[in-house]
Amino acid sequence: MEIPHTVKPRPDTGLYNSKIGIWLFLASEVMLFGALFSTYILLRVGAPEGTWPKPGTMLNIPIGTINTCVLIMSSVTVVLAWASLKLNQFKRFKLFQAGTILLALTFLVIKSFEYNDKFTHYEVIKKDGTVINGHLVSQDSKHVVLEGAILPVKGEHKLGDHPNQQPAHQHDHEHDHEGGGDKAGQNAQGGESTHGETGQQAHGSESGHAESGGGHHQEFEIARSEIKDMDNYGPWFNTYLAIYFTLTGLHALHVFGGAVVIGYLWGPGSKMWHTEPERFTNRIEISGLFWHFVDLVWIFLFPVLYLL
């Protein structure tokens, strides 16, 4: 039996059925992401003063910007692929959609580097109260080696506290003040040796260079017996990272799923072009609508998580 209205519009809706289908699905997707966005708002508004990370302190803005452009470009190749089919240019369609798939993979690869950077980023609280923050170089049963800096903390510090604390000697910048009044002078506990050198690298907002810092990071070899508490920047680390991983993880799953569908319609699924070109063109439009939605979500995720 033939599936009705895959090409010819249904008289009452004026649309072929799968278009209604995808829009109903996207409507439910809006509610899914909407729920998580409102969760984000509630978590952020409810966070105690000074505990929500400032822009650029957690994520690398240039990398996020590049990924935004990658996704926008992929949206353009999708729509141009569809237009190529409308113009009866199958070869150009193939070319544009190949571009889409490559861009989708580029996005996921960049994202996985960002994730990896978080999972190898540690905060260590030593028994003497010193807090060391940096990337894992190596670890064994006796030692943990981090490349990073000492955080100027005062009093009781728990993992995930004060994400805006800058390493010692961060030169003054208006962004850095909140909760950081205890900067200079608190480093005594960090020991003389590290004092002068930890200054420049700063997980600073001005460079936007939150991670993988610029060569001035110092290496700390910490004996496990001196460690009171340590953890990496996974979703468990603090509220911001929890919602960051939830939102971007769900989004990345969508990118992956979209790429699989587009890949199928580019490869084996494209045979349909030779038998039912109009139906195939509609399939491309439908997969494109999903892809644009994924792009749309990222357009909001990028400023919300990276910039604001």
């Binding site: 809706t13 004026g14 649309l15 278009k19 209604i20 829009w23 109903l24 409507a27 809006v30 509610m31 909407g34 729920a35 966005f37 409102s38 708002i41 509630l42 508004v45 822009p55 803005i61 910007t65 935004t68 452009c69 926008i72 470009m73 949206s75 353009v76 999708v78 729509v79 141009l80 237009a83 409308k86 113009l87 208006e174 962004h175 936007g208 494109g288 609508l289 644009h292 939605f293 792009d295 749309l296 357009i299 909001f300 990028f302 400023p303 919300v304 910039l307 604001l308």
Partner: protein, 101 residues
Amino acid sequence: MSESNDTHEIQKEIRTYLLVFGALLVGTVLTVMASLIDVGAAWNMTIGLVIACTKGFLVAGYFMHLMSEKTTIYAILAFTVFFFLGMMLLTVAADSDVPAV
């Protein structure tokens, strides 16, 4: 519509897509630049969201063809907008719902 007319239409649309592409890239650069200028958290937030909404409008309106879609789709989306806004308004409502300490 005749075949050649159709072709002409699509070619015009392609030009629109490329313009939208340019606008989206400009929007991305603008939103990053705007975020680096400190005009107070509230204003930074507003500017960031206004640019994001504009970009979102361009994607939905042109790439997703919502500028010229059938009434049925608009009807579906009217429900979506209603419930989506409702959900966002709940966060505002929650703001005044502070437990007594």
